[in-house]
């Protein structure tokens, strides 16, 4: 078991990082009930941990007893030609779609990731979630008269799915609470947001991360030199999960920590910075072609394109003259936006690289002749 999991706070009062949020949540559910919640914040900031702790607070230890179910749902959809490119069986006016969905459930709650269904997420929301929300938990002889649905990655839900979600949230609020979890609240529609209590989980400050690392070190009985934890925290990009993992990796590689010990980098970040230096070295269509190959490599390994773009921008900005920074960032935003609208992320990533090359080259030409 990794330290990340080992030292994950199980209850709200053991939380180290977001203590204020935890206290508020504790107060919120002290009455035994809670509104719909929307947790949002960057990855590795502790959203899931808080949600789990919250569930435990509400339902007690039985919330931890979860089982995984991978089930294929058959959803009848009234026939419309909106989506024609997936397999379905035609039945007089309706068709049946098979939607495969993995759920994690305890007696009191169900966790699911509706965006896994891809473009069928609408049906997941319309049919499956509604079905779940409708049924009151059978086990009502106890105290809790409602069940909780935890929906992960709500920001990846399509607009249609989010629209169909909002009615569900109102209609079945008697028997069901939704806890939504997303990375960015901006991708959750206004309507859904207004129906929830929004809980912002920001990325932990570096000091907080250092605190956590020191806490772990103490528990593990490790000595960490002054400033080493801070270095890890700095490298972690304010991502607590990454910090703890890196810490453990360091521990495994070389135990008596030294202050200048190498901190293992994320491999893909390393690769992106290689790409960035490639771009800085030469700006030509040929180089762009090579960069394309490398971008494909990253994409193939499931690194999300937005993150590649962000990281690439970050790496490029490090090497860039300050007067260009603004423009380049602007274009990065532009292309990220287009990437969201489009489908083939490689086109847009490449377009950004091309744009950067163009800007940089003309800058070089104008300054150095």
């Amino acid at each position: 078991m990794l330290w990340v999991d080992k030292y994950r706070p199980k209850t709200l009062d053991k939380v180290i990082v977001h203590q204020d949020v935890a206290q508020n949540l504790q107060k919120l559910v002290s009455e035994g009930d809670c509104p719909h919640l929307l947790f949002y914040g960057p990855s590795g900031s502790g959203k899931k941990t808080l949600i789990m702790a919250l569930l435990r607070q509400i339902f007690g230890p039985s919330a931890d007893k979860v089982k995984v179910e991978n089930k294929i749902w058959k959803v009848d959809v009234s026939f419309s030609l909106n989506f024609f490119f997936f397999s379905f069986r035609m039945q007089a006016g309706t068709r049946t779609i098979d939607v495969e969905l993995t759920t994690l459930s305890s007696t009191h709650h169900v966790e699911l990731n509706p965006s896994d269904a891809g473009f069928q997420d609408r049906y997941v929301v319309q049919e499956i979630i509604k079905e779940m929300a409708k049924n009151r938990p059978i086990d009502t002889k106890g105290k809790k008269g409602f069940k909780v649905l935890v929906l992960n990655e709500v920001d990846k839900l399509s607009r249609e799915a989010q629209h169909s979600l909002r009615r569900t949230m109102e209609k079945y609020s008697a028997s069901c609470r939704l806890i939504l979890c997303s990375n960015s609240s901006s991708k959750v529609t206004e309507a859904v947001r207004s129906r929830c209590l929004n809980v912002r989980i920001n990325a932990p400050m570096e000091e907080e991360i250092v605190n956590v690392l020191e806490f772990i070190a103490k528990k593990e009985g490790l000595q960490i030199p002054q400033g080493f934890a801070a270095r890890i925290a700095e490298k972690s990009n304010r991502n607590l999960r990454r910090a703890v993992l890196t810490f453990e990796a360091c521990r495994v590689q070389q135990y008596p920590f030294t202050n200048n010990q190498a901190i293992p980098p994320m491999d893909w970040e390393q690769y992106v910075s290689e790409i960035a230096s490639d771009i800085m070295k030469e700006q030509s269509p040929k180089r762009l072609f090579e960069v394309r190959g490398k971008l494909y490599e990253l994409l193939t390994n499931c690194i999300p394109p937005e993150i590649i773009l962000k990281r690439l921008l970050f790496e490029l900005l490090k090497k860039l003259d300050s007067e260009l920074k603004h423009e380049v960032s602007n274009w990065a935003a532009h292309y990220e936006h287009r990437m969201r609208l489009g489908q083939k992320s490689i086109f847009h990533l490449e377009a950004f690289v091309a744009k950067f090359m163009s800007i940089y080259k003309s800058f070089l030409v104008s300054t150095f002749g």
Partner: protein, 965 residues
């Protein structure tokens, strides 16, 4: 003025029909039988009078023959020759027939128009004597009545009228050399002249009818039975083929390779002297005449003759071909060619089908064609092919058959059927040949005998024809067939051919217009001919400037994706701009072409993928990459467009995709030929990433939910994998015996094992994968690598990750430990997820005992299962034995499996349930008197205690961990 009498009018009436018929052979017969053409006939065209331009024949005064007649609005009049006006037609005054003039006025424009440029050509016109007096109004008694040129005609009785010179239809241009004949008396009697003319015409007609029966009665009024020119002038012999010489010859060569197999004769190679004489001869042969047709089976020599004539066009090619041909013959006596299928592909209208037919006929085959209009289901086509390919024909002509499968790429499903059948035949043939190899094959007899055995082999040539070589259905066929790609014939060849046909059809054209037409239709001779014929029908001439409006429709052909990419990325040569087009029109022309090309194809997704794939390989000047930026912006734009249209289903928006592609054309198109590749990388990325996502997904599902719930697949790759790999391969772990490790190291090790189990990773034997070997630097045949192949996720191309790789001995050990750990968890996980602290406890326990012992025990724990299960099976019998034998079996051996598997046993069979209590009873007795069994029990590391009492006590679930302690 006097009017002609009734008899004369009647005579004229009869006469009037004559030109309609236009068949000189039937002239005499028809003369009095044809009914007069209805007066109300809307044929408003003028007249006609056909003079004889040959001075020697000086025809115009034709006293013996048809009198020119005058028909005006249904009234036919004969205008007798006026003696005074005969010498000078200008002197003839029009005093009557005002009406005729009125009627005519609207036509005069046309007439004048025509007359303006036709007269200069008159003298050199061919000596065609066809008399057409089809129209009215143009004859007048007085020359003044006629505008423009006219000719005097003298009737039988010496009357003279003036006929206007005009053109009838497009067929034949009538000319009238007025000045020549106006004065015209000749020595020879007119009858003689007429006879001569008649004779001339007769011979000509004979000639024409020998070529083509239909041609004779083509001209006027025979619209119905007019043949399409495409069919009419289809090449009927090899020499007339318009397609590329090289291809023709290769096809022929391929067919010839069958000769020995099909005809059973050796091909005689032409001797040198024959060749040289042929060469000499071919120089003399100017134009291959189509009349050189003859029956094919017997006369192969003359063909070769003609063929050689063509060789002069490509001397070097044909020479090398010939050598190759000979070589082939030598090496492949008796057998059919290597590739039994010939696949011809190319855009429509270049003559693929024609080539196949002509070549097959040329080689003496009877062509059996299966085309898209036939039933092409797999079974029916199979029967047909078998018929053709394997049977010797019993028909009278006894020519072997050659199968031509036309339009094989037609409909996907149907085409597939045909392809499958053909492939089956070919593969059967392959197998047979492999078996037959030892057999001496040579000579006719052997061949025949083998024919009898081979039911399913291919004994006749099969020619497949398709338009799109890259149709998915044809993929397997492509590999076994000999593929010939048709290229466009040169424009000049097409134009020559068109000219020849136009001449035959007597259509007036100029080569400029024909060239433009050929270019416009991409040398599609079929559409050229159709266009010409259509224009001819409309009595229009081909006009260079209005070509695009005149040509009725453009070919609506979809081109292959490669063609489209080529069109987009390659600039057309700008030679036609210098000609008659101005720059602007050529640009818009280009625009039109590209637009229709792209939108006909329609598959914008693919098109843009292709552009994206290839665009960076182009060499365009782009100092600060502006163009590249623009192009990639456009590509992105098209992607957004595509996504939007797909999401909203506004498919009509797709129209705007092609301008996007065209703007890329405008930016980067170069004259140089681009090296275009099929867009593979995007597809590859797509499939690979799906694969990898699947790996992640299944990995996540394997991880116990209490851990995996906190992770998303995204965070796996983003945060987890890199440090995780580091954690999994600690540098401190030494590959030494376990008992040599210090306590701390053992703790580390247990921590590592714990992690591996928690994250459901293990090492697995993987067959040496080249990439893996490279990465590990080891050349083991099989290496141990992580089971969910996590390492792959950081294995970027051209990137050297600094992850340590454990020695394989360590890996083996880790696998072992992990297995043990898993078994220990197996029982505990069933009911409650173990907390970290709990597990720590377990580990510390374990560590306190020696590791070797631990591993031994783990071994045992694994072994427990199997024997225990075995025992389960014979438990009932054993227990019965026990009872009878007085309880000899040890409870220690029995009890353990029993306890462990109790639920199983209970549920397994109905009767077991009843046996249990009695079983227990016997065991109780056993327990009561501990014997030597106890020692045996003690020797094992496991201890258990049996609870006396009711069976419920035994059913308590027990964790295997407890046994391992």
């Amino acid at each position: 003025m006097e009017f002609p009498d009734a008899a004369e009018l009647e005579w004229l009436e009869a006469n009037a029909t004559y030109p309609d018929d236009d068949d000189d052979l039937e002239f005499e017969d028809d003369f009095f039988q044809q009914p007069p053409s209805p007066p109300s006939e809307p044929r408003s065209e003028q007249i006609a009078y056909q003079p004889d331009p040959k001075p020697s024949l000086s025809l115009p005064p034709k006293p013996s023959l048809p009198k020119p007649q005058l028909q005006i609005n249904g009234r036919k009049r004969f205008l007798p020759d006026d003696p005074e006006s005969s010498d000078d037609r200008n002197a003839v005054v029009i005093t009557e027939e005002k009406r005729s003039r009125v009627e005519r006025s609207e036509q005069e424009d046309n007439d004048e128009d025509w007359l303006r440029y036709s007269p200069p050509k008159q003298p050199e016109e061919e000596p065609m004597v066809v008399e057409k007096e089809q129209e009215e109004k143009i004859l007048a008694k007085y020359a003044l009545e006629i505008d423009g040129d006219c000719t005097p005609v003298t009737g039988l009785d010496g009357e003279r009228v003036y006929a206007k010179i005009c053109r009838v239809e497009n067929e034949m241009v009538k000319k009238l050399d007025v000045t020549q004949y106006s004065t015209g008396l000749i020595q020879e009697p007119v009858r003689m002249l007429m006879q001569r003319v008649e004779h001339d015409q007769f011979t000509r007609a004979l000639e024409a009818s020998s070529e083509d029966v239909n041609e004779a009665n083509l001209p006027i009024g025979t619209v119905v039975n007019e043949q399409l020119w495409v069919d009419k002038y289809a090449p009927s012999s090899f020499t007339e083929l318009l397609s590329d010489e090289q291809t023709n010859r290769q096809v022929l060569m391929w067919l010839k390779q069958w000769d020995s197999c099909v005809f059973g004769v050796e091909i005689k190679s032409t001797t040198d002297d024959v060749l040289s004489s042929l060469k000499r001869h071919s120089l003399a042969v100017q134009h291959p005449r189509r009349s050189s047709r003859s029956s094919f089976g017997n006369s192969r020599e003359p063909r070769i003759d003609n063929e050689k004539a063509h060789n002069d066009l490509h001397p070097e090619n044909s020479d090398s071909d010939r050598i190759k041909d000979l070589w082939d013959k030598k090496h492949r006596k008796g057998g059919p060619p290597e590739q039994k299928i010939l696949l011809l592909c190319g855009p429509p209208g270049l003559g693929k089908t024609t080539l196949a037919h002509v070549a097959a006929q040329h080689c003496g085959y009877r062509v059996v064609e299966i085309n898209a209009s036939d039933d092409r289901s797999s079974s029916s086509i199979e029967a047909k092919i078998h018929d053709v390919v394997q049977m010797n024909s019993v028909n009278a002509d006894s020519k072997p058959k050659c199968l031509v499968v036309d339009e094989i790429d037609g409909a996907l499903n149907d085409g597939k059927g045909a392809v499958e059948v053909i492939l089956k035949l070919v593969s059967a043939e392959r197998k047979l040949r492999a078996g037959k190899e030892n057999e001496p094959e040579g000579g006719n007899a052997g061949q025949k005998s083998s024919k009898r055995h081979q039911k399913a082999s291919l004994l006749r040539p099969v020619i497949c024809i398709c338009n799109d070589l890259y149709a998915p259905a044809l993929r397997p066929l492509r590999q076994v067939a000999k593929v010939h790609i048709f290229v466009q014939p040169t424009v000049s060849r097409v134009v020559n051919r068109l000219k020849y046909i136009c001449n035959r059809e007597r259509v007036k054209t100029n080569s400029l217009a024909l060239t433009a037409l050929a270019e416009y239709t991409d040398c599609d001779i079929r559409s050229c001919l159709n266009t010409l014929q259509f224009l001819n029908k409309k009595k229009e001439t081909l006009n260079v400037l209005e070509l695009s409006s005149q040509v009725v429709g453009r070919k609506d052909a979809t081109r292959s994706a490669f063609d489209i990419w080529k069109e987009i990325l390659q600039k057309r040569k700008v030679k036609q701009t210098k000609k008659s087009f101005n720059c602007f029109s050529s640009m818009s022309n280009d625009f039109e072409t590209l637009h229709s090309l792209i939108s006909h194809r329609g598959d914008y997704d693919l098109i843009f993928d292709g552009i994206h794939e290839n665009i960076l390989q182009l060499h365009y000047t782009d100092p600060v990459m502006q163009k590249t930026v623009k192009c990639s912006d456009i590509l992105g734009c098209s992607d957004i467009f595509h996504q939007y249209t797909m999401r909203t289903q506004h498919l009509s928006l797709q129209v705007y995709q092609s301008p996007l592609a065209m703007s890329i054309h405008g930016l980067v198109a170069q004259i140089g030929k681009p090296n275009i590749e099929w867009p593979k990388s995007f597809q590859r990325y797509r499939t690979m990433s799906v694969e990898k996502k699947e790996i992640l997904h299944s990995w996540k599902n394997k991880i116990p939910p209490c851990i995996s719930r906190h992770l998303s697949t995204k965070s796996f790759v983003e945060d987890l994998i890199s440090p995780f790999l580091h954690i999994l391969s600690p540098s401190t772990l030494k590959p030494v015996a376990l008992h040599l490790l210090s306590e701390k190291e053992k703790a580390d090790l247990s921590q590592l094992v714990n992690t591996m189990v928690a994250y459901a990773t293990t090492y697995k034997n993987i067959k040496s994968d080249p990439s893996l070997v490279m990465r590990h630097g080891a050349s083991d045949a099989s290496t141990l690598s992580l089971d969910p192949p996590i390492g792959e996720f950081v294995n970027f191309k051209g990137y050297d990750s600094c992850h340590l790789v454990l020695a394989s001995a360590v890996k083996v050990f880790l696998v072992h430990e992990a297995e043990k750990q898993k078994i220990m968890q197996g029982s505990s996980n069933l009911h409650s997820p173990p907390t970290g602290a709990e597990r720590q406890g377990v580990l510390s326990c374990e560590n306190s005992s020696t590791l070797s012992k631990a591993s031994a025990s783990s071994d045992k724990s694994i072994h427990f299962r199997d024997p225990s299960r075995q025992k389960q099976y014979d438990l009932p019998s054993a227990s019965s034995q026990k009872r009878s034998g007085g309880g000899t079996t040890a409870s220690g051996k029995m009890g353990l499996p029993e306890r462990k598997k109790k639920p199983f046993v209970d549920s397994r069979s109905f009767f077991d349930r009843f046996r249990k209590p009695s079983d227990k009873a016997t065991q109780d007795k056993d327990n009561a008197k501990p014997g030597q069994k106890l020692e045996e029990r003690d020797s094992r590391p496991l201890l258990f205690k049996f609870n006396e009492g009711y069976t419920n006590a035994v059913k308590r679930p027990v964790r295997i961990r407890e046994f391992l302690k």
